[in-house]
């Protein structure tokens, strides 16, 4: 599973970081990006889904590859 953060949509709510800290990085302003090019480690899939479904800007998506 991979995740992608649309930086055009992210407004820095930080919900993803609170719910799945190891999957996201925040920059100095609090805007999020996915770590490890979005690759979700095995076992963290539920956290990734949680982050997706709590983003008020619909900025995170799961990319199945």
């Amino acid at each position: 599973m991979r995740i992608r953060v649309d930086s055009e949509k992210c407004e820095g709510h930080n919900r993803c970081k609170a719910l799945a800290a190891e999957l996201f990085d925040l920059d100095d302003l609090g805007y999020a990006s996915a770590v490890a090019e979005g690759v979700v480690p095995p076992g963290a899939e539920d956290q990734a889904r949680l982050a997706v479904s709590n983003c008020p800007e619909f900025a995170i998506e799961i990319v199945e590859d």
């Binding site: 820095g12 709510h13 100095d28 302003l29 609090g30 949680l50 709590n54 008020p56 800007e57």
Partner: protein
């Protein structure tokens, strides 16, 4: 003014955001409007449209330049104050950037203040907030009863923001009075609004002058040293930003802490669950924000926009009713219930789009500390006189008196 308070006959065409029954329990009106007239209208308080559906609010926040944030208060200021403000904006730029700025002016100001409010930055005030909450409880715990709004919730945000701004936390009561003067009571009282706007701006004018002479590492000094588009900020802008940082986090956060305590005081099952499962606090706080989120924001309609079949007419205001959107059953299961362990919660309590509340991490930290500290020290409490609970409403809704016993 009395005409503004006549009883509402049809909420779709004549709503009153200050109606006392609505302020106490707005849920039924929101449900009615979402189904019957999702973009309601009123001529009261200067005239406005009000969006109550989640999907519409999501679209409307992205409609610039048609919808402007230059004056995000719902009730317009008095004609005199309005003229004064317009003259100042013409001479010096946006009143309280970034909240009163539109693109492209907005972004550099937002980027200027965001570093003060990242999770890391706001967590650095956690220990201060814990000490503050514990000191407040020290004074309440043996009394067996108190006003959880006035004696606890209200006391926290002004002192935390004062600490962040490098101003004296002991003046918290004054900051609360000023904030209520411009935001709460000032909504329907133009004289108060003008008076307290001046008091706040004079306070910060003096502070900015002092910091220019005596720089330190605080927020005001940071703003003095900062540049936007290669130019130092004017005193007008710095004062406006400080004004925003002070007032935006006071009655809003206090309303959220108060509403949460009011909820638990009246819902013993939920209260007992939080005592048993304190790890649930972060999830529960999001749900309380969804259900009791206090803030609606206004936009001025500059150009015609059509939403949900309704044309918004230029010159009037638009209310983005985030609290109503948060109870939209199209988006949330069991939308009209507080579900403490709700997992999927895309609520919009802090607004969405470019004007997302810059202080949302600070508000969450304060709610977390305030509720955990209360629950650790006063795990058993209930409303001592439910009829004596009072609510303030309008743009920011929350309980102002919550008599509890424990």
């Amino acid at each position: 003014m009395s005409d503004e308070h006549r009883p509402v006959e049809d909420w779709a065409t004549d709503y009153d955001i200050f109606d006392p029954d609505y302020v106490k329990e707005p849920g039924p009106v929101w449900d009615d409007l979402r189904q019957r007239c999702p973009i309601a209208h009123t001529k009261r308080w200067g005239g406005s449209f009000m969006a109550t559906r989640y999907e519409d609010v999501q679209q409307l926040v992205r409609m610039t330049p048609e919808l402007s944030s230059r004056s995000p208060t719902i009730v317009p200021p008095s004609p005199e104050l309005r003229e004064e403000m317009i003259a100042e904006v013409k001479a010096y730029g946006s009143e309280n950037p970034p909240i009163t700025a539109d693109p492209p002016e907005h972004k550099p100001y937002k980027q200027l203040i965001l570093p003060f409010f990242t999770p890391k930055a706001t967590d650095s005030y956690r220990a201060f907030t814990e000490d503050l909450c514990n000191t407040l409880i020290d004074g309440l715990v043996d009394k067996g009863q108190c006003d959880a709004a006035a004696e606890y919730a209200q006391q926290i945000p002004p002192r935390v923001i004062a600490r962040i701004l490098g101003i004296d936390p002991a003046r918290g009561a004054e900051f609360t009075e000023w904030t209520q003067g411009v935001l709460e009571l000032g909504q329907t009282n133009p004289e108060l609004r003008t008076k307290y706007r001046r008091i706040i701006r004079d306070f910060f004018a003096e502070l900015v002058a002092h910091r220019r002479e005596n720089p330190s590492d605080d927020v005001v000094s940071t703003l003095i040293a900062a540049e936007v588009e290669g130019e130092a900020l004017s005193d007008h802008s710095i004062i406006g930003i400080c004004n925003l940082l002070l007032v935006a986090g006071i009655d809003t956060t206090w309303s959220s802490i108060g509403a949460a305590l009011w909820h638990f005081a009246g819902h013993p099952e939920d209260r007992r669950r939080m005592v048993r499962e304190p790890d649930l606090f972060p999830t529960a706080i999001e749900e309380l924000l969804r259900f009791y989120g206090p803030v609606m924001m206004g936009r001025r309609i500059l150009e015609p926009v059509t939403i949900a079949g309704t044309e918004l007419t230029p010159g009037e205001k638009l209310i983005l009713n985030f609290p109503a959107a948060n109870r939209d059953p199209e988006v949330f299961d069991r939308a009209d219930e507080v579900v403490l362990d709700r997992e999927r919660n895309r609520h919009v309590a802090f607004g969405i789009g470019i004007h997302r509340c810059a202080g949302s991490n600070l508000a969450r930290m304060e709610m977390d500390v305030a509720l955990r500290t209360w629950f650790e020290r006063i795990p058993e409490f209930e409303l001592s006189d439910p009829d004596a609970v009072t609510w303030a409403g309008g743009q920011v809704r929350g309980p102002r008196s919550i008599p509890v016993r424990y």
